[in-house]
Amino acid sequence: MSRSVPGSFAVAWLAPLIALLIAAVVGDILILSFGQSPGDVYRLLLEGTWGNAYGLGQVLYKATTLTFTGLAVALGLRAGLFNIGAEGQLAAGGFAAALAGLAVPATTPAFLAVPLCVVAAAMGGGIVGAVPGALKARFGASEVIVTIMLNFVVLALLNWLVAARLHVGESLHTPPINAGAVPRLADLAPAFHGSAANTTIVLAILTAAAVGWYLFRTRAGYDLRATGLQPDAAEYGGIRVGAVRFRALTLAGALAGLGGVNYVLGYKHYYEEGFASGSGFLGIAVALVGRNHPAGVPIAALLFATISQGGLAVNAIVPKQMVEVLTAVVIIAVAVTVPEVQRLAAAGRRVA
């Protein structure tokens, strides 16, 4: 009786819905304070996103990156680890994809070049994730601190590599890749013309499905979730908790790294400093609103992508910073309502 019975599906999704409601109310107040009608602003926001093919394409592009970083945070949280390093892991993935694309000859066929670049992206992110994983498993180092700090190290290192070795002319990006580019959605459906949306979205959906299969259908997933819920019980159950944590953070890094494919192979075809700044951190909000569930993460990614793209659409009548405030309110509201966060906070207090 000391623990309440875990709620039904509906109850599980109640917390993020409440968070959104709070954000909407705060948004209304902000809009009114600018002397605008909330109805007009929200209509404009929807028209600029889901209302036309270009806007929708931009939403899908942003949601693709956020799905990867959201999955990276969600997988970590399922293992009881707070991965705040998706930002650096994403950048490293993009950089590795670009390096692979630059290394192969231009004549490489797509069926070889694309998988090679995708694997490179996963490896680039995976290596960045493996560092806090190893430190956590070996020394019990706080993954929160290590992943946060590693972001700065990784971003600074990549910036230096690009600036010192790989940049083109006065730009801060690498030369375009020789091979490995994937088609834009506009190539398939011309209505998307001009938007960044590309076929990486298919990879995102497949990856989310694969993460779901891994978590709930494999023994490794059973071990990972047990470790996240109750490390002592996992240890009793013959699970090597340290190894599971290392694997989880490495996989999380690889998931975030795959997000780099979206920009490098799908959009610009080169690595550029700060290409996805903020997407890693926003992945935390995506994971929490998506309840750390591989089915919920893409939906939450669409939501945050809509808010982000919508900010540009309503910029004419309210400052686009309003959208940043909205995003922040959602994150704060989620943080106080979602049980995972409370559990982590409690764990943090026990450690302290």
Binding site: M1, S2, R3, S4, V5, P6, G7, S8, R217, T218, R219, A220, G221, Y222, D223, R225, A226, L229, Q230, D232, A233, A234, E235, Y236, G237, G238, R240
Partner: protein
């Protein structure tokens, strides 16, 4: 053990208190028709309670009977869905914890809520600190502990860190804390679960003193001998309902157990107290000793993790078919000993053999596959993943046997769950429910089913019935006896001496990391073992 001469000493005083229970005294607390549901689970259906001023009132019932829920409603932690709660004739239904504390209702929880890095005095005044300027007035806090301690007999050194206290002392601090906040009605949730017999006796002394001063005590417990020894009145709950309320002097343990379970129960204490452990055991014992040990532990030393050794050279061998019991006050190395055998803790020196096989350096999984089953002492922390379904918990530690090429075999997991849920009478019989939704007794049945529902030559049973109701205790004890009868070797560790004496063929007492005595069951009794458990006898004895 409930009839030792010391415990009878205070009986007249209690009797006097007891006589006041009849209708002369006004009811201090009256709860009627209380209903409380959590989601689809109805914890209280028609619960009622009447407590007279100045009495010690025992509230008993199986796990999941709704005792704790009712108490939490009284203490303001939950609001009831229906029903009425009155204190001193005032309607207090659905009040807050703050209101309950202000009205003098204090609850001592099963799990301690103390800050380990603060001293006893600091913990006591936490939240309502006496101040001098902006700073804590330490002298005043210390004086508070001493004054209250002298008045109630709850003596604890005010400057000691809570992390250095024994479990019994920590509990005294909890009681002090509640009293310091002015509690006149004390609710204690299974206070003796973690105490040694002498500590229990101390607690009874304190409770009697408090009631003599006019306080009132409600005691939640599973142990019927405690009910008989300390309480004036008993209220019995079953399945969320109050099924009876009787004066203790008119009750018998068997009658109370029958009310709790709704049928006849064979109590552990029914086994003869001394003079042979049953005729069926005697002839087989010699032949057993001849055969090869199923579990053989030699000169085991295990570090405590605090810079010294928790287990300081323990040796024993358990032949097939024997239940080897380890008694002792908790914290004398029993947990570390079992964890080392199970593979959860590194061995400093010594060896562990399972049959002919040296398992000293094997991992958890390999030990399990070699035939070692382990009921861990703390099912909430170790034994179960509470948010996992019953079916998934039933494969914990054996998940590699339910996997095909890395993928969980859902069919095999479901089949295994169906067998175990039926075989071990796990209720409700729905393997998809999370373990957290089960009562304590049924949670423990999940652990028992997983560990005993398969082939195992050796079983480590740690506190196998802690926090479990009478019906489940009976069930678990029967399983352990049956396992031994079928030729398994059982290492039983329990803080409950009655349990050790009820099950074990041989009893060792562990004190300060060593076995201070090992006796055949026939020579062991609470009176004989007590001095060993408290370290008064057998000090410096070598391990046999």
């Amino acid at each position: 053990m409930s009839t030792s001469p010391e415990s009878g000493r205070e009986r007249p005083a209690t009797g006097a208190t007891g006589s006041r229970v009849t209708s002369h005294e006004p009811r201090l607390l009256v709860a009627t028709g209380v209903r409380k549901a959590f989601g689809s689970v109805e914890a209280n259906r028609n619960a009622s309670l009447e407590v007279a001023r100045g009495e010690i009132h025992a509230l008993v019932g199986e796990n999941g009977a709704g005792k704790s829920t009712l108490m939490r409603i009284l203490a303001g932690l939950h609001a009831p869905d229906d029903g009425r709660v009155e204190l001193d004739g005032r309607d207090v239904t659905g009040w807050s914890t703050r209101q309950a504390i202000d009205a003098g209702v204090g609850m001592v929880h099963q799990h301690f809520m103390l800050v380990p890095t603060l001293t006893v005095a600091e913990n006591l005044v936490l939240g309502r600190e006496p101040r001098r300027g902006a700073r804590l007035d330490r002298a005043a806090a210390r004086a508070e502990v001493e004054t209250l301690g002298t008045r109630t007999g709850l003596v604890v050194a005010p400057d000691r860190l809570v992390s250095d206290l024994s479990v019994g002392e920590a509990q005294r601090v909890e009681v002090l804390k509640v009293l310091w906040r002015g509690a006149r009605l004390l609710i204690l949730d299974e206070p003796t679960a973690v105490l040694s017999p002498p500590e229990v006796k101390d607690l009874w002394g304190v409770l009697r003193r408090l009631t003599a001063e006019g306080s009132t005590v409600v005691l939640i417990t599973h142990k019927l001998d405690e009910v008989m020894e300390i309480s004036d009145t008993v209220t019995v709950m079953r399945a969320g309902e109050t099924v009876g309320r009787i004066a203790t002097r008119d009750a018998s343990p068997a009658a109370i157990a029958r009310m709790m379970v709704g049928r006849e129960v064979r109590l552990a204490t029914d086994r003869p107290e001394a003079g042979g452990s049953g005729p069926q055991d005697e002839p087989s014992h010699d032949s057993r000793a001849m055969s090869r040990a199923a579990l053989d532990v030699k000169a085991l030393v295990v570090a405590s993790g605090r810079g010294d050794d928790a287990v300081r050279g323990v040796s024993f061998a358990i032949p097939p078919g024997e239940v080897f019991g380890i008694a002792g006050v908790e914290g004398n190395g029993q947990s570390e000993l079992v964890e080392a055998i199970a593979g959860l803790r590194r061995v400093s020196s010594g060896t562990i053999h399972l049959g002919a096989r040296d398992i000293t350096s094997l991992g958890m999984r390999e030990r399990g596959d070699a035939g070692l089953s382990h009921i861990p002492e703390d099912r909430h922390r170790r034994g179960l993943v509470l948010d996992y379904a019953i079916a998934d918990n039933l494969i914990l530690g054996r998940q590699h046997h339910f996997t095909r090429r890395g993928v969980l075999d859902r069919g095999a997991i479901a089949a295994n769950a169906a067998t175990q849920v039926a075989g071990f009478d796990i209720r409700p019989p729905d393997p998809r429910l999370p373990a957290a939704a089960l009562s304590g007794g049924n949670q423990q049945k999940v652990v028992i089913a997983r560990e005993m529902g398969r082939e195992f030559p050796v079983l480590l049973a740690c506190q196998p019935t802690r926090g479990v109701d009478v019906g489940a205790i009976e069930f678990i004890h029967a399983r352990i006896r049956a396992a031994a009868a079928a030729g398994r070797a059982v290492l039983l560790v329990s803080a409950d001496l009655v349990e050790v004496l009820a099950l074990a063929d041989r009893v060792a007492v562990m004190y300060d990391g060593r076995f201070v005595t090992v006796l055949p069951r026939a020579q062991a009794s609470a009176a004989v073992l007590g001095p060993y458990m408290t370290g008064l006898a057998g000090r410096g004895a070598t391990t046999p």
